[in-house]
């Protein structure tokens, strides 16, 4: 089964393989299948080859001026593109300029890579003090306008473009440094690097094998962009007239063409075209490399109700009893091969007012997807292929985001799994509560504020005023979950959908949150759909249970019956897997019987 993208965390754990597009075994082969990559790399290769073959192709030197050739037409006697205003062969100058660009790119990128990668590895892998120093030095380099510095240092470089490009390489290095440092810092804290260290691998080997590998891809990508930047800067400087006038370069040719524009516009066109094509190819190649090595660019993400493909209309039946009725609900995600992959396949369930239904299953069983489908907050790419979701007799599937936002918050509310990730990090707790209250029922700001404070008090927060003014990162996980519950029950919804509301919390906090949910449910006569994988939570809080497996509900029943006499074999497997409450380990710690045989060090 496939993992739908941007799903809740546990979906990651489902069996099989997760579809990470990046880091396949043969990126080169995939690159060769990408027309953009092949085309841009091909053009670059041809251009570089032409540059290398210059002495064999051209009849004239780049600075060889001939009075007869001044502003010559293209195509006349050995001047394929004509002559410029000094009578030099434009074609020859173009090819020589290619070489200048290639040398600039080589110098600029190699210096930037050498400096950036080395210090990035050092700054990322070794301890904080060393990093403090490298960090400071590179941010210093980064803050200075590079082109200005290159010009200011003109008396020092004496206009030699190679020296200039060396300095420019240093100026480019902070970008690479940051890239590498961030990657290394990220990898360094990965458990697999810790595991390698515990395995007794020397630092050298960890850096080489585990860390350089991760850094490789992004650095290759950056190289293409660095080369483009170097060529751009070199031509910019040459355009300004920095550097020796005997070094042919696109910039100098463009400057010449620019002054001669009214007479001979083509003289401006050729070098501009050549420069444009080379930098464009580098950027396009860089983009292709990124797509292949890091996976494609993220797709836009719209806030919208899920699209629906009504293969069958909602079954026209007599109004089913109860508050929430889900019938034959199916949710699917598009696969790379344009098919649809069902993650929820025909779920039917119902809830009466004030009742708690536990939706239980292992990761990847589709329980969270079912909850999201009821709320209408599936990711934009998800498709509801069939079925019906009715709340108080009203069909919710097919409603637009606007209509749904009138129902959500008022009739139906949601408590998520990860409390921290579900609060906007840059808005105060209070403002988020007030905003929700006012979205559900138009209330004066002041009144909404009072109500929010009362809610915080109700969910067991000791100091409501302080928490009201706090930002999410100042709260503990348990407090954040209380805040989210306060927000969910703010408008007295008739149905609360709680998706693993205690999974991310400590046990003692879990017990308190379950108590709170139970009390609120009784107080507000609210129905609760409790999505969980924990049978302890089910036993604690649910009236009825539905067991899900691979997108289907295999068994529904009263909580007591289900625990005492599970009907479906899968339910029995799950219950058997629960570790026995009353049997601690009793066998004594044994001393080696097999060990000596295994000492094959």
């Amino acid at each position: 089964m496939n993992t739908p993208p941007s799903n809740a965390a546990p979906a990651r754990e489902q069996g099989g393989r997760d579809e990470t597009p990046a880091g396949g075994r043969a990126p080169v082969r995939r690159l060769l299948r990408d027309p953009q990559a092949v085309l841009s790399a091909g053009v670059l290769l041809v251009v570089v080859a032409l540059g290398l073959l210059t002495p064999f192709i051209t009849e004239h030197g780049p600075n060889q001026a001939s009075l007869e050739a001044i502003n010559d037409e293209a195509g006349t006697h050995g001047y394929p593109l004509g002559g410029d205003k000094s009578g030099r062969d434009i074609f020859a100058r173009l090819l020589h300029s290619v070489n200048t660009s290639v040398v600039s790119a080589l110098i600029g990128t190699s210096i930037a890579l050498a400096v950036g990668v080395t210090f990035g590895l050092i700054g990322g892998y070794y301890d904080r003090r060393l990093r403090g120093v490298t960090e400071w030095v590179f941010s210093l380099v980064m803050t200075f306008p590079g082109l200005l510095l290159l010009i200011v240092l003109l008396p020092v470089t004496r206009g030699d473009y190679r020296v200039t490009m060396m300095i420019f390489g240093v100026l480019l290095s902070p970008g690479i440094y940051r890239l590498v440092r961030n990657l290394v810092l990220g990898v360094r804290n990965e458990p697999y690097v810790d595991a390698a260290r515990v395995s007794g691998l020397p630092d050298r080997r960890i850096l080489g094998r585990h860390i350089l590998y991760t850094v490789r891809g992004p650095v290759v990508i950056a190289t293409a962009f660095l080369a483009g930047a170097s060529i751009g800067v070199q031509s910019g400087l040459a355009f300004l007239g920095v550097g020796s006038s005997t070094v042919p370069s696109f910039g100098a040719m463009i400057a010449d063409g620019f002054t001669n524009f009214y007479e001979e516009p083509l003289q401006l066109l050729w070098p501009s075209l050549a420069l444009g094509v080379i930098t464009a190819c580098l950027v396009l190649l860089g983009n292709s490399l990124r797509d292949v090595l890091e996976g494609g660019r993220p797709k836009p993400s719209r806030i919208t109700a899920p699209s629906r493909r009504p293969t069958t209309g909602p079954a026209a039946e007599a109004d089913p009893p109860g508050l929430l009725t889900v019938q034959d609900l199916a949710v699917a995600y598009p696969t790379p091969s344009d098919g649809l992959n069902e993650v929820v396949s025909g779920v039917t369930l119902s809830l009466r007012a004030g009742e708690t239904l536990g939706l239980v299953g292992e990761s990847g069983s589709g329980k969270t997807q079912t909850a999201f489908a009821i709320l209408g907050v599936l990711p934009a790419e998800a498709v509801v292929t069939r079925g019906s979701v009715r709340l108080d007799g009203r069909e919710l599937l097919g409603l637009g985001e606007r209509e749904l936002s009138g129902i959500r918050g008022r009739a139906i509310a949601y408590v998520p799994q990860e409390p921290m990730a579900n609060l906007d990090p840059s808005a105060t707790v209070g403002s988020q509560l007030v905003e929700g209250l006012r979205a559900a029922t138009p209330t004066p700001r002041r009144e909404a504020r009072e109500r929010a404070l009362a809610l915080l008090d109700r969910v067991g927060i000791a100091d409501p005023r302080r928490v009201f003014a706090s930002y999410p990162h100042q709260l503990s996980g348990g407090m954040a979950q209380r805040v989210l519950i306060a927000g969910a029950v703010a408008s007295r919804p008739s149905l609360l959908i709680a998706d693993e509301p205690t999974t991310a919390l400590d046990v003692t906090v879990q017990a308190e949150i379950l108590d709170l949910l139970r009390d609120l449910r009784e107080e507000l006569n609210m129905a609760l759909l409790l999505v969980t994988h924990n049978f302890g939570v089910v036993a604690d809080s649910c009236d009825r249970v539905a067991v899900m497996r691979q997108g289907r509900i295999v068994e529904t029943g009263d909580v007591l019956d289900l625990f005492r006499a599970p009907g479906h074999p899968y339910t029995r497997t799950l219950l058997d897997a629960i570790l026995d409450e009353h049997a601690p380990r009793t066998d004594p710690p044994g001393i080696a019987d097999e060990r000596p045989l295994k000492e094959v060090r």
Binding site: L240, G276, P298, P300, R410, P416, N422, S426
Partner: protein, 313 residues
């Protein structure tokens, strides 16, 4: 908060001292040439030594630097070797031209980049493709070529704006605006390109976060979620890009000023460097660093306002 600002300012000053010192040390390698070029090509070695002594270039480099620094602290940047113009007034006069171009371009970049980025992130389809295409174009074509293309199209073909020259704001605001329009557009093209892709990426990341889903379940309208929550959270990284953009535009302005014959900072710096006019070079270096320090400080403050975690620290 005030402590934080003071600390940043102090770091900025240290940065200014370091950069000017390094520049000075590097320049000291070419003092002979500079003394020579002040005198002209016919100077004898003895005459050059004499000139160096007169300019104070024969003293130990560090002493010279400290001398420059002690004057600079009091606002005295010396006189140009060649024109004897006071450096400070010369620079401030030209800074106005560059800043009006760069700041206008920065503003335009912010507006265009954020609008296109948000649209691309949330609309998808044609809007996304157009925005991404525009952004790609800005990346693909070097600044210089965009500038030349704009001159060709807007000035030479359509005659909407003058191709070159500058009218001070005080003289005629309309003509001032016309004279900087093409340079501003040219600078904006590249800046907006990278800002657009940055904002697009950051917005997509934000919109995929869990809190967006939770806000939806509270019945909050998509537009409010987009602008009040997602955009605010995406603005931090975008601001950082914008501050780097400023530094780059400052460099880019050098080329642009040359194309449009604007009497700005860049062309002034260029001529001073060609001649080796040390007081002007040093003055320009210092001004540029201070400007960058100020912009970074502003971005820092804005980030603190946007991001509560950064603020508490």
């Amino acid at each position: 908060m005030i402590l934080h600002v003071l600390r940043r300012l102090a770091t900025g000053l240290v940065l200014a001292v370091l950069v000017t010192m390094i520049t000075f040390l590097l320049l000291s390698t070419s003092f002979d040439d500079i003394a020579g070029s002040v005198l002209g090509s016919s100077a004898t070695p003895a005459r050059i030594e004499q000139q160096k002594a007169q300019l104070g270039l024969d003293r130990p480099v560090l002493v010279q630097y400290l001398d420059w620094l002690s004057h600079a602290v009091r606002g005295d940047f010396g006189l140009s070797y060649f024109t004897s113009e006071p450096v400070r007034s010369a620079i401030t006069a030209r800074l106005g031209v560059t800043l009006s171009v760069v700041l206008a371009a920065l503003l335009l970049t912010a507006v265009v980049g954020v609008t296109l980025g948000v649209l691309a992130a949330t609309r998808g389809g044609v809007v996304d493709r157009v925005a991404q295409g525009a952004s790609l174009f800005g990346h693909l074509v070097p600044n210089l070529l965009i500038a030349i293309g704009l001159v060709w199209l807007l000035a030479l073909r359509l005659h909407w704006f003058p191709a070159t020259g500058y009218t001070p704001l005080g003289e005629d605001p309309t003509r001032w605006a016309a004279s900087i329009t093409i340079p501003v557009l040219a600078l904006t093209a590249a800046g907006a390109a990278s800002l657009t892709s940055q904002v697009r990426g950051a917005m997509i990341d934000e919109l995929r976060k869990d809190y967006v889903r939770t806000l939806r379940t509270r019945g909050i309208r998509p537009r409010a979620i987009l602008l009040r929550h997602a955009l605010r959270n995406a603005a931090g990284p975008a601001l950082t890009v914008l501050s780097l953009e400023f530094v780059q535009m400052f460099g880019g302005a050098l080329v642009i000023e040359q194309v449009f014959a604007l009497p700005g900072f860049g062309s002034y710096a260029f001529n001073a460097s060609l001649q080796g006019d040390i007081p002007i070079i040093m003055g320009i270096t210092l001004f540029a660093v201070l400007l960058v320090v100020c912009v970074n400080l502003l971005v820092d403050l804005a980030n603190g306002w946007l991001n509560p975690k950064a603020r508490i620290r």
